[in-house]
Symmetry: C2
Subunit: 345 residues, 2 copies
C-alpha cells in the first residue's frame, strides 16, 4: 500500500470517465451534475484517492497548518494550552505544528519564518523571548499574554488585573488582615505584569498597606522566599502577614511547603492563593495544588484560534482580548464550602 504510488486526480478522472477539472470540482464542492458527482465519488472510493496536499498548497498557498510556539509542554499550563489550541484548530479544519522553543530564540525565529514563507497559514505564540523584532504588522500571528512595543499584534490574555484584585478580596473575605504578594515575573512585558497593579489597587481600595516581594523569576526562588519569610517573622516567630497572593500556583505551592517546614499551618495560620489553576495529574479533572485564581485555559486557546482565523480571513480583530478568571478552592484557604476540583461546567 505504501509502496504503490498514490492515485492522482488524473487516475480518478480516467476511471470516472470525466475531465480532470470535474474531479477537482467535486473535491472542492463546486456544483457538478449529480451524475458526474456520483461517478467521481465512486472512483475516489474505489481508488482510495486522497488529495495531495503539496500540489494543492503549491497552487493555493494554503497549508491548513498553524504553528504553535510555546516554551515546552513540560509545564502543565503550556501543555494544557497546547491541547486546547490543537482541538480548536482541528475544529477549524487546521492541523497544528508544535514548536517547543524553550529558550532557543533561533527556533522561534525559524517557525516564524515558516509563516513568512507561507508554509503555515498562521502562528500562535506563547513565548518568553524577544519575538517582536522578527515580525511585521499584518503578519498572521496571535500572541498570548506578551506585549510587544511598537507592534500591533493581536493579544489574548486573562484579566490579570481583575484576578489579582479577586485574590486579595478573597483573602480578606476569608479573614485575612495582612495579605502580601509574592511576585516572580518574567523580564518580558506582558499582561501578567498587571497582577501587581491589581494587588496594589485592591490594597488601596481596602485601606491595606501593600507589602510584596518583587523579583525576576530565577533559580534562587526558594532562597528569596526564605529571606522574605525571615524578614516577616517577629522575634516571637509570629508572622507579620496572614495571607499570601502568589504570582503563580507553583510559587504558591513552594511557599506553602516552606511555611509548613517552618512550622506554620496553611490555611490555619496563613492562607494562600495562587494564580493559574494548575491541576494534579490532569486538567481539568485533577485537584488544584492550592486555592487559585484560575485562568480559563480552554477559552483562552479557543479565543486565540478564533482571532487567528478571523485574521487570516482579513477581518479586523481587536488588539487585546481579556478573558475573565475565577477563584477556586484548593485547600490553602479557610473557605469552608471548599469543592476544590469541581469542573468549571
Amino acid at each position: 500500500m505504501t509502496s504503490k504510488k498514490a492515485p492522482t486526480m488524473r487516475d480518478v478522472a480516467l476511471k470516472a470517465g470525466v475531465a480532470l477539472g470535474t474531479v477537482s470540482k467535486v473535491i472542492n464542492n463546486i456544483p457538478v451534475s449529480e451524475k458526474n458527482r456520483k461517478k467521481v465519488e465512486e472512483a475516489i472510493a474505489e481508488l482510495n484517492y486522497e488529495v495531495n496536499t503539496y500540489a494543492r498548497g503549491l497552487k493555493t498557498q494554503k497549508s491548513n497548518l498553524v504553528a504553535l510556539i510555546i516554551p515546552n509542554t513540560l509545564n502543565p499550563f503550556f501543555a494544557t494550552f497546547a491541547n486546547y489550541i490543537e482541538s480548536a484548530l482541528y475544529r477549524n479544519g487546521m492541523k497544528m505544528l508544535l514548536c517547543c522553543a524553550g529558550g532557543i530564540p533561533e527556533k522561534e525565529e525559524e517557525y516564524l519564518n515558516l509563516a513568512m514563507n507561507n508554509k503555515v497559514d498562521g502562528v500562535i505564540a506563547l513565548t518568553y523571548s524577544d519575538i517582536g523584532k522578527y515580525i511585521s504588522d499584518g503578519f498572521p500571528l496571535v500572541v498570548f499574554d506578551r506585549f510587544f512595543e511598537n507592534r500591533v499584534i493581536p493579544r489574548v490574555a486573562s484579566d490579570n488585573f481583575a484576578g489579582a484584585c479577586l485574590a486579595v478580596e478573597k483573602l480578606l473575605e476569608f479573614g485575612c488582615k495582612r495579605p502580601v504578594y509574592i511576585r516572580f515575573h518574567s523580564i518580558f512585558p506582558g499582561e501578567s505584569d498587571k497582577r501587581l497593579a491589581g494587588y496594589l489597587h485592591a490594597c488601596a481600595a481596602h485601606g491595606i498597606e501593600p507589602d510584596y516581594l518583587n523579583m525576576i523569576e530565577c533559580p534562587e526562588n526558594l532562597a528569596l522566599m526564605e529571606d522574605f519569610l525571615r524578614q516577616h517573622q517577629r522575634p516571637d516567630k509570629e508572622l507579620t502577614f496572614d495571607g499570601v497572593f502568589a504570582h503563580t500556583d507553583y510559587h504558591a505551592f513552594l511557599f506553602m511547603e516552606q511555611l509548613r517546614q517552618n512550622g506554620y499551618r496553611v490555611p490555619e495560620d496563613v492562607q494562600i492563593i495562587g494564580f493559574d489553576g494548575i491541576r494534579k495529574f490532569r486538567y481539568p479533572a485533577g485537584d488544584l495544588f492550592v486555592s487559585s485564581i484560575c485562568q480559563p485555559i480552554e477559552q483562552l486557546a479557543e479565543k486565540c484560534v478564533e482571532i487567528l482565523m478571523a485574521r487570516c480571513c482579513g477581518a479586523q480583530v481587536p488588539p487585546l482580548t481579556l478573558l475573565p478568571v475565577q477563584y477556586r478552592y484548593g485547600g490553602s484557604t479557610r473557605e469552608e464550602t471548599g469543592q476544590g476540583s469541581v469542573l468549571p461546567r
Copy 2:
C-alpha cells in the same frame, strides 16, 4: 513583507545571473563552482529567499513532517513525551504535527491517512484505540507501548516486567512483608500489561502470596479502591497488607489519599510505589507525587524518533525496544536516604 509575494528560485537565478538548476544545486548542496555558489548565496541573502516547501514536497514527496498521535497533552506523561519527541525530531531536521486524538478514532485514522498519502514522512503513536486495522506493514509508524496482533510495527516501551519486579523488591527491602498490587489497565494490550507478570514473578521469587486488584481503568476507580481497602481491613482495622505497588503514580496517589483519609499513615503504616515518574508542576525538576518506578520518558521519545528515522531510511529496525526503568524516592516509602527530586543525570 507578508503582502509581497515571496521570492522564488527564478528570482534568485535572475539576480545571480545563473540558471535555475544552479540555484537548486546550491540549495541542495550539490557541487557548483565556487564563483557561482557565491553569487547565488548573495542573491539568496539579498532577496531573503526561502525554498517553498510545497513545491519541494510535490517533487520529492518528502515533507520533513512527522505526526505524533497521543490521547492529549492534559496528562503530564503524554505532554512530557510529546515535548521530547518534538526535541528529538527537531534535532533530525523534522517538524512535529501534533494530534491529540483523545478518544476520537476518526481523528487517529485521519492522521494515519496523512502518512498513507505522503503528507507526513512518518507517524509516532501512543494511543489507546484500535489503530491496528488502518495500517499495513511497511508503514512508517512507530508505536509506544501498544501491541497490535498480526502486525509487525516497531514498538518502544519501558521494561515493565523488570519495573514491577523492582517495585516489589524495593517494598521488601524497605521492610514490607505483604505487598499488594493495584492494577487498572487499559482494554488494549500493551507492554504495560507485563507489570502484572512482573509482580507475580517477584512474589513467587520471594515466596509471597500474591494479592492484587485487577480492574479495567474506569471512572469508578476510587470506589473500587475503597472496596479493596475494606476487604483488606481486619476487624481491628489493621490492614492485611503493608505495601502497595500501584499501576501508575496517579493510582498510587489516589490510594495514598484514601489510606490517609482512613487514618492510615503513609509511609509509616503502608508504603506505596507507583509507576511512571510523574512530577509536580514540571518534568523533570518537580518533585514526585509518590515513590515511583520512573519511566525514562526522554529516552523513550528519543528511541521512537531514532527508530522512525531508521525506518524511513529503509533500515531494518527491531520489533520491540525495551528501556530500563528506575526506582526513585517520592515520600511514600520508608527509605530514609530519600532525595525525591534529584535529576536523573
